[in-house]
Symmetry: C2
Subunit: 324 residues, 2 copies
């Protein structure tokens, strides 16, 4: 045990498939991490225990005394009841009214702060990443779903019921596909990784000639990012239109965000963006700038998230430090 006088927090990124916890110092440095599968299908109690185990794993890896941990911050899929720290419900986790804050506090004996995963993502990028130094920031995180978060004048936008920032669920085309949220034509239903996968499968079923499944052990399993990227670069006839449609719709979504918020920085992050890289961000940027008022994009940066996997844990750490 060392650094006994220093203070730390733990940020937790609770995802649909994995839990990632990290011990973080006041400057945003990660000292140790713990990772486990979420296993939400085994029930909320199991997942909370796994979250607590991740925290201990991270603290051990960081080699700091548990007493030095001031608080725990969690980025969770929403919608949430922030005051009570309850996950109201979420398509990816399947629980109802899960008392995340209360149960985690009981297991860890530390103050627990909870916020939406999109909110902590943009908070992380704002504090330590691609939006550092900006005061007005919009974040969009594209993965299984699309999370969002907004910072206005240096503070997270929360709204009346503390559920603002659900940017993946703006309606970009009411004639579009049904979204995981149950509504039709949300941005998420056009641009998420799930939407891309659906579009590729539909193209294959319709008889489009494609190499995307070639050599796969399990052709029914979700396509991995690397495979998507390789197929895109090879000009695959099923993959290219699916990814282009995602980038286009995300561009329309960003255009709307520019006209609504006129932010200084738009951060585009999440697993899909990380995998596809600048090529994808550039498409999004072009469509966004072409579809908003010129002044709304003047001197505005539309950039990839720079913290990669760490945006959410670092934002969650910010929550734990009481900054939001």
């Amino acid at each position: 045990m060392k650094k006994t006088k220093k203070k730390y927090v733990v940020g937790i990124d609770l995802g649909g498939t994995k839990i990632y916890a990290a011990v973080v110092d006041a400057k945003g440095k990660i000292l140790g991490a713990g990772r486990k599968k979420t296993k939400s299908e085994q029930g909320f109690a199991t997942t909370v225990q796994r979250m607590a185990a991740c925290v201990h794993e991270a603290v051990d890896a960081a080699a700091v005394p548990y007493d030095a941990i001031q608080a725990i911050g969690v980025g969770s899929p929403g919608p949430l009841d922030l005051k009570k720290g309850i996950i109201i419900n979420t398509p990816n986790l399947k629980w109802k009214d899960a008392p995340l804050k209360k149960e985690l506090k009981k297991l860890l004996q530390k103050p627990v702060y909870v916020d939406n995963d999109g909110n902590v993502g943009v908070l992380g990028e704002f504090a330590f990443g691609a939006a550092r130094g900006a005061k007005d920031v919009v974040g969009l995180f594209v993965g299984t779903g699309i999370g969002g978060g907004v910072i206005i004048n240096g503070r997270l936008l929360h709204g009346f019921n503390e559920n603002a920032g659900e940017l993946g669920h703006i309606i970009v085309n009411p004639d579009g596909p049904v979204c995981g949220c149950g509504n039709r034509g949300c941005l998420e239903a056009f641009a998420s990784r799930t939407a891309i996968e659906r579009d590729i499968r539909q193209a294959l079923e319709s008889g489009i000639v494609s190499q995307v499944l070639e050599g796969l052990e399990n052709p029914q399993a979700l396509l991995r990012s690397k495979r998507l990227l390789d197929a895109y670069q090879a000009g695959d006839a099923a993959v290219v239109p699916a990814i282009d449609r995602s980038a286009h719709y995300l561009g329309y979504g960003v255009a709307s965000m520019l006209n609504i918020f006129n932010p200084q920085v738009v951060v585009i992050g999440g697993g899909l963006v990380e995998a596809l890289g600048e090529m994808y961000v550039q498409r999004v940027r072009e469509v966004a700038v072409a579809n908003c008022f010129p002044i709304a994009s003047r001197e505005v940066q539309i950039v990839a998230a720079s913290l990669k996997d760490d945006s959410a844990v670092l934002g969650a750490a910010m929550l734990a430090w009481g900054k939001r």
Copy 2:
């Protein structure tokens, strides 16, 4: 001349077709008004002179000394350069880089404050109308175009280049009609009065049987609100689908606003809403609530503006009082 010690401001609502100025006291009471046509086609200098004349007309009508006027607030179509008080450009007025603040100040010899018409509209409803008492408010004003404004924690959202709140230009369907702003599928292109008129004319051209033009002296002129309302209530086959489409798309737009801002109150105003009344607002409300996260509409009021024609002048007066 009376009340020489009391202080007043003048709020101006600069519209595409008319100018409306009002002398307002600190409590939002209108003491006198002036109105003129905008005549923007005669050039910016003419319109500014007409604005100044409206101010004097309002001051005369209020019977207050000109010295008691502390400042002038203007709600103008955007986009604007707020710091310089310049109208950058706007489809309805056709000027480029019009130095509104500078010229009006020269003519009136008073401090002049300028903001976007949607912003002053929501500011008026927030200060004195349907959103009084709420801290998080979204306003949508449906007329020739669709103006918008957002209040977060009691203050107008302005953004990095001070052009936030262009809610009429969120993209609600990229396959939709071209908007006055030049982009495709904006909310304004589906739901504004201009969109309704276009849809009715297209229906008539396609041979739909309708009584909407019956007895009109000039069947090519813009349809008046009363005629639209009567035709809608009579079940007119050209008018009903056009107004329903407007209400539906405005509902989708409001659903997006609920998921983005999670406000306490959404105010729906403007000439079209005033004319069509609660029937229209009810349709918008139903579509909005059905298309957002349940928590984003929980205890949220979606209501008609209550100040009618006065939202913008009263909001402009708030600007003049230095509150924004």
